[in-house]
């Protein structure tokens, strides 16, 4: 056990910090859930990619630096501490890419990974349906075989930034007679597919960040099938491991937010005097971020030792999502009469944080997983 960073890790941290200090946009970008903001964020992905910071842990040939997992965690700490923009490509990079590395053919890897990393092709997740949310195995969208093609009919919903995205990764029912987890396939669908229409829906903040996807005889070539036909469930479960665990929301994001909260308390206490109850809530948020950090480094060591994360990813998902809500709620309370103002980044953060316990598998579902698969309690 050595919980200090090696000289090489420190050097990596310095390099990232220096680059970020020189390159992070001085003014915050517009919301990525708006058409203009989406394109501003895409530009930022190009800049990151060209300096090889977009996907640090990937192989060099796809634009990465082959960084270790620890280095990636360091990068995330520096990235969020620098106040850099949110990552508009993250559904592709964090959720789909690990699945392409595991299940994709060499042709698919060559075709998709670099453009995804550069933000030339931004991906959206098409899984949820009007009647299939938590119960994902209940999806009905069909994909009938027709020679080399799949013909998709049905509807997806709650697709994040689906109104602006270039590609969709979809879970569909390729065997019309199948039920539940069997007969599903994982299809990659380009936005310009005939018979596919994306319609925006306003999110809680009023921006068109959600889309409904309507498929009407949309034909997709079989070279866009990821993993085996009918094996979509297994492929999708690999994605959820990334979604809940450390890929999507590394501790650095919450450490940076907690540090900003500590700063906010200091500022407010300087002008209005101390408030010990709220100070304790600030400490609680800081503790949550630190607890997540050390648990993540412990998990990294386990992964390196050969044990997979598995259902334990649910611990992380519950922790970061509930921490994020508490942290932002604390900030708004600290701000007093300004807490309700619409023009603060804390309010934006709060509104987004509220979705954390819902997306990526609700926290009720995560607690079911913890109790049944980690603790081994009887399912019924």
């Amino acid at each position: 056990m050595d919980l200090s960073f090696t000289p090489a890790e420190e050097e990596f941290r310095d390099e990232a910090r220096t680059w970020l200090a020189e390159n992070v946009p001085a003014e915050p970008l517009a919301s990525m859930d708006t058409p203009g903001g989406f394109e501003e964020h895409r530009e930022w992905e190009h800049i990151l990619f060209d300096a090889r910071w977009a996907v640090v842990s990937w192989p060099e040939r796809f634009g990465g630096r082959e960084a270790s997992l620890v280095e990636w965690l360091i990068f995330e700490e520096e990235y969020w501490a620098s106040g850099a923009p949110g990552r508009v490509s993250s559904n592709g990079v964090s959720l789909l890419a690990p699945t392409i590395f595991d299940f994709g053919t060499p042709e698919q890897q060559d075709r998709f990974l670099r453009p995804m990393a550069r933000g030339d092709e931004i991906w959206a997740q098409g899984w949820s349906e009007p009647d299939a949310g938590s119960d994902l195995a209940g999806i009905k969208t069909k994909a009938q075989r027709d020679g080399e093609f799949f013909v998709i009919d049905g509807q997806k919903t709650w697709c994040s930034r689906g109104a602006f995205a270039d590609w969709f990764f979809c879970l569909v029912r390729s065997d019309p007679d199948s039920e539940r987890h069997a007969g599903l396939s994982y299809l990659l669908v380009p936005v310009d597919t005939q018979g596919l229409e994306a319609r925006a829906i306003g999110r809680l903040d009023g921006e068109p960040g959600f889309a409904e996807l309507f498929f009407d005889c949309a034909r997709v070539h079989e070279r866009y099938l990821l993993g085996g036909e009918g094996e979509g469930w297994a492929v999708a479960m690999a994605t959820t491991g990334s979604e809940r665990g450390l890929n999507l929301r590394a501790p650095g994001r919450f450490m940076a937010a907690a540090d900003r909260l500590v700063g906010l308390y200091r500022e407010i206490a300087d002008s209005r005097g101390p408030d010990l109850d709220r100070r304790d809530q600030v400490v609680g948020a800081w503790m949550g971020a630190q607890a997540y950090r050390w648990q993540t480094y412990a998990t990294e060591a386990r992964l390196r030792g050969g044990s997979p994360i598995g259902s334990e990813a649910s611990f992380m998902k519950v922790l970061w999502s509930e921490l994020d809500v508490e942290l932002h709620a604390t900030a708004l309370r600290l701000m007093g009469r300004d807490g309700e103002r619409a023009d603060s980044s804390w309010m934006d953060g709060y509104v987004f944080a509220l979705s954390g316990p819902i997306y990526a598998g609700t926290n009720e579902i995560q607690r079911n997983i913890i109790s049944e698969r980690v603790l081994g309690l009887p399912r019924r």
């Binding site: 056990m1 620890v70 503790m287 060591a301 913890i370 109790s371 603790l375 309690l377």
Partner: protein, 326 residues
């Protein structure tokens, strides 16, 4: 950055777990509640034999020259078994404090402590020293660390809710030890955090086992979602307290500049984890858990005591705030 334990450390932990599973079953803990000393019959000698008692002493003094990162896993195991022996006071606090101080006190006591022949106790100026009557030398931690030889001291005993913890006010001729009192306190708080994690883990495991075989309405009560989510919440607290407790041990071992802040992180998280685990365990057991005959309370009460000892969650959260400059 490497959060893995060595094969030797894991082997030592497993040996400790096996040993305690065989030698420290609930009957043994219960017996310590009833007897004069609050301790077990013979386990101290066996732990000396295993190398546990003197492990933190330098090899030159007859110890194993190990540090807090070796000890932390054993302290978790001690908590898991509710072991009523003074590993926290003696091995985690007393020996390293003596070894670092050097001088005549160390000369007089260190080798005897490493061999387990002399037993070291620890407490705070304001609080109690647990098990002082069975110790030879007690460290009282406050503005200074003072060492009080027990045979010349006046002891006033109080009973703890945990029958194996005998609480003593200690008054006597003291020698001031040349050491940083904050470090001595942090050693105790970090060790208590590791034990809290172990106690909490036992409470969770025992409850999971119970609810899987207790039937009501024709189904195991552990199949009801309300019960499941209680247990998931306890598991969450433990999952995030454990790495923090291990990190705190490392901070002490290497003298990390943020040691006090991060020991407080560990103890606050571990206290909160064991508090929730004991409330959850009791609730999910129902009335059987509320009896004196059933063993659960041995761990619950150890949990209550350790959660409050060496700074409770609120105390440590306040210390974090001060360290963060707010």
């Amino acid at each position: 950055m490497d959060f893995s334990f060595s094969d030797d450390q894991i082997m030592f932990q497993e040996a400790m777990r096996d040993f305690l599973a065989n030698e420290c079953p609930p009957e043994v803990v219960r017996a310590a509640w009833e007897n004069d000393s609050g301790r077990t019959n013979g386990l101290w000698a066996a732990l000396v034999e295993m190398g546990v008692v003197g492990m933190t002493a330098p090899e030159s003094a007859g110890g194993l020259g190990m540090d807090e990162t070796d000890l932390v896993l054993l302290l978790e195991e001690a908590g898991r078994a509710a072991l009523p022996e003074p590993l926290l006071e003696h091995t985690a606090v007393g020996i390293p404090t003596l070894a670092a101080a050097g001088g005549p006190v160390a000369e007089a006591w260190l080798e005897r402590a490493a061999s387990g022949e002399a037993i070291l106790g620890a407490g705070t100026d304001q609080g109690y020293a647990v098990g002082a009557a069975t110790c030879d030398l007690v460290f009282l931690i406050g503005e200074q660390v003072r060492a009080v030889p027990v045979d010349e001291a006046t002891l006033v005993e109080h009973r703890s809710v945990d029958g194996s913890r005998r609480l003593f006010e200690v008054d006597g001729e003291a020698v001031v030890i040349d050491t940083d009192p904050a470090l001595a306190f942090d050693r105790a708080a970090a060790a208590a955090a590791a034990q809290c994690v172990g106690v909490a883990q036992y409470l969770l495991d025992a409850t999971v086992e119970y609810v899987a075989q207790r039937y009501q309405f024709g189904k195991p009560v552990g199949s009801y979602q309300a019960v499941k989510h209680h247990l998931a919440n306890a598991a969450l607290k433990i999952e995030f307290a454990r790495p923090a407790a291990r990190h705190a041990a490392w901070c002490i071992a290497v003298g990390d500049p943020d040691r006090s802040r991060d020991v407080s992180l560990a103890k606050a998280l571990a206290s909160e984890a064991v508090d929730l685990a004991s409330r959850t365990a009791l609730q999910c057991h129902g009335a059987i858990g509320y009896t004196y005959e059933y063993d659960l309370h041995l761990w619950m009460k150890r949990g209550w005591a350790l959660s409050a000892a060496w700074g409770d969650a609120a105390w440590h959260r306040n210390r974090i705030a001060v360290a963060l400059g707010i």
